[in-house]
Symmetry: D2
Subunit: 309 residues, 4 copies
């Protein structure tokens, strides 16, 4: 028999907040009833807490739990992503009899079918899917809490620079002798320059027992940037994306606020207590740094601020 | 005059948790009174909150504030790292009259002089220095909260695998006819194999107005791994490091607990309310994933658990 | 009609070595005749050369070509990875009538089924698959050249530190009164300590029209490290991996040489002209830097050096 | 005495192309005669070749060589970056008596003083400096070859999308009743929209014994993008950058060609045999992938193509 060092009394008697593994890469295949399975190459982090009376956790159990749940997901169309992660968290908790909390986090690229905006060519679009699942024991019961989310890339155009270009262009047109009415007409039809850049919109929502379709979150994230982007863009498509982006200039602040409003509008079923994390990060083309806006609040707080019942 | 789009009323009336910039790289030179200046190539993140009545923040003010404080630090020996970050946070807050909170985060490589363990050859050692500074307005006053920290690389050797190798080696020696006393003697002088790997120890401590020397945090982080490492190791040094590491096998759990105890022992002046974040991450040589242990607690909680007054 | 700016004469008349796109992520599904399809989340780079008479390339054609070939691969069991990449390179070349060279590069994680070494638990193992394909026009013909490769993670144990520990342990045992014969016996059965670490073995082989099974390259890469590793290791498995690694200590130099010999032995059908690139990178546990060994040569050169006909 | 395992005969008799270390981080301080010292946090890779008769290289010598040269550079104003790297390569070669080739590669962030384009606020600008140095023995002599380079970030605006927006805007203005002369005037003064993004220009030049000022390479790289960028931009500055970028739209192809021409014009002293590597990478705001253009040629080839003597 080999010794079980982990189960011994530690030299220093101190409980630990979390012990586990990060960066576990897995091919995930989730069967669905009437559709093609979802395929993900996902990265998992998995943790449990450790009492002060035990030297170490049994890490290999975490891996067995993940493998077991992933295997089930390939054979039975019962899981969506949040249930998959919830199940892993529950079983991780139960497999460590000394732990009272378990938490797992999943991040995965997800390729889904897309079409170019104007010419309609079929292509793939890549987004990230995020899921955090917590399980804990309380009064002999196992409770869970799930956050599901997405991270989507798009283009954002700066409202401030565009307005400055407009004002200066107006002055130049005035100098050329154009009337205020003409200038107003011209600047309504000519998309004027501004800086624009890759933006990344992130939404995470506490499910609170409701079904939050990932596809809906992707749609909200896209609608909160100046325009969607695409891996293939024929000339006609590129024109559409650029024109569209310049008709909807947005700061990171605007993107975050739009996401908050759309969440409040499209998920009336979410309870006021549900936490949401909204974030927009722009890779500024005029700087080397990135610009970030963030809102962390409950649905109730957002509804109240927006006057939505 | 150019238009000030940021100061307008937003279309959606919602306050934002934070708006700012990430990944601002700066050369930092901190003068010291009787020593050579500290040189850092640091990365800063800087944020303020935004009320619901304003479309955007004035981001360029953040950069002016950082540049101003960094410039002062190169000419006057008044700053250490935590004061530098505190000063940036305060001035960031004051430069955005509409904000009530500012937060900055700094991470930097820091090269400091080191010697090889056995042959004493002079070399450089690289650690990361971390600092978070928060400033907020409350009843007309500006309050601050500072976390200072380090991230140090070392080697960790696994206690469990070593014990298994010991048990099996004992059996093999028994089969060869060695007596229990001989076996015990042998296994006391022969460092037996185990897997070992790069480990990363991270400590962050709330300063609570006390001076927390970074050099002391580095020392604690090193003492919590099986052995320090070095960029140059002559043969004699390499022997020392490997032997030393195998005499002190440690799980991530052990490393975290040792750091907690050393913090409690070496910083009696820190108040019970001060938060500490302790983390050990090992790049497991027998796996593709990393193993992580973490303790987040107040000094008071740690002292109570350890029975330290 | 939209203007075609790319087809114009450039201001500066200079041909370009390559123009294209990097970081194109695609879900790849390759049907196989009697097995489950291979699923990859791959990243492609794709380039063509550009003559001095043309302002720009038509980048969208590259994406259409990739999508077209990937779509075919999901419906017909005709492709393996190298043929897939070869086909993309040929079509990329033909779709740019002005280009004379095309090159594509693919890198993908690949999960394949594995078992733990001792207890035989089923798990997934992750390796990287690499493929470079070149196509060029010469005398009215299209020629191609393909490199196929893998990058595999394992554990490597240092022979030098182990030998030093052995020598010193021998001296300690001598001091304890053990005879030279006893010492020799002891050090044969007790796996003595050394530093060990994550190693990454990379092999790329020019196919030269031969079929080079990726699974065979993975096997060679694994055999060239001290031991394979695994995401799940029960106690018994962990013991096996650690013991095995310490029985086969290897420098990066050893790993590269073993891979070269195994390639020469297992691929007698490869012509002498085929280029091979072999590389071992170890994430040294006693240093912050990595150690690397590399051999770039033709199969003919390797055979000659090794005296293999 | 400790055993010297590296010097033994290897089991497999095969020479290796290179053996060494990657990712060695060092604080570099280069004294200059009449200016403030240059401070770099640099990353070095260092390699030598290994004959078939030796099991391993003496890696620690590489680190001693680097430390020695860096130490000298802090005390004597004799080095520039290329001489520093050349010196390390030569000493690395000479310190391994069995090697016939040594190569080192350095990459470092370099902060240099900058001013905002319109308001003239002082700030820091970050670029990367690159240097490769090769040393080899031939007929009893040590030869060297040095490449010095930079990587600079700027903004690039797409000429194709801008032209499409212009054509369509012209049609819209025509529909509003503006005359062709008016339309032409309008589109000359109104900077029209296009997509723009962070671009990264890279130049590496073989020095061939000439002094190639890094500052001149930075200037060429900047001139080859649509506009420089800046960490601080007051409103007036931002307007300038955006307007300027839109007046100089550039494909990656244009950027590479401009860099080639500027190199040919500004370095007439470089011999025809000197190799240059020029590369432009744009982080496309309308795509998730990056677009890349590259020219690898000798100065002689570039001069001939451009008709420059």
């Amino acid at each position: 028999m080999l010794p079980d060092v982990q189960s011994r009394q530690p030299e220093i008697s101190l409980n630990l907040t979390r012990v586990g593994a990060e960066g576990i890469r897995k091919l995930v295949r989730i069967e669905r009833e009437d559709k093609r399975p979802v395929i993900l190459v996902a990265e998992f982090d998995i943790f449990v807490n450790l009492p002060s009376t035990r030297k170490g956790v049994n890490l290999s159990r975490n891996f067995e739990v993940i493998d077991k749940v992933l295997e089930e997901a390939t054979s039975r169309p019962v899981y969506n992503i949040e249930n998959l992660c919830r199940e892993i968290a529950i079983r991780a908790l139960l497999s460590h009899e000394y732990a009272t909390r378990a938490e797992i986090s999943m991040k995965s690229e997800y390729m889904h079918p897309a079409k170019t905006p104007s010419t309609g060519v079929k292509t793939q679009e890549m987004v990230n899917i995020l899921c955090d699942a917590y399980a804990w024991k309380e009064n002999g019961e196992v409770n869970t809490r799930i956050m599901i989310g997405v991270e989507v890339t798009g283009i954002t155009a700066c409202p401030c620079a565009q307005e400055m270009i407009k004002v200066r262009s107006g002055r130049e047109l005035e100098n050329l002798g154009f009337s205020p009415e003409d200038i107003e007409k011209i600047l309504r039809v000519v998309p004027v320059a501004t800086h624009n850049q890759r933006g990344h919109a992130t939404i995470k929502v506490e499910t609170a027992g409701k079904y939050i379709p990932v596809i809906e979150l992707i749609s909200i994230a896209k609608d909160a940037m100046s325009s969607g982007t695409c891996e293939i863009l024929k000339r006609e498509d590129e024109y559409e994306v650029v024109k569209n982006a310049h008709l909807h200039p947005m700061f990171v602040e605007d993107s975050v606020r739009v996401m908050a409003r759309l969440l409040a509008e499209r998920f009336p079923e979410l309870p006021d207590s549900a936490t949401v994390i909204i974030r927009q990060e722009n890779e500024e083309s005029i700087h080397q740094h990135n610009v970030v806006g963030e809102k962390i609040a409950t649905m109730g707080e957002i509804r109240k601020e927006l006057g939505i019942e």
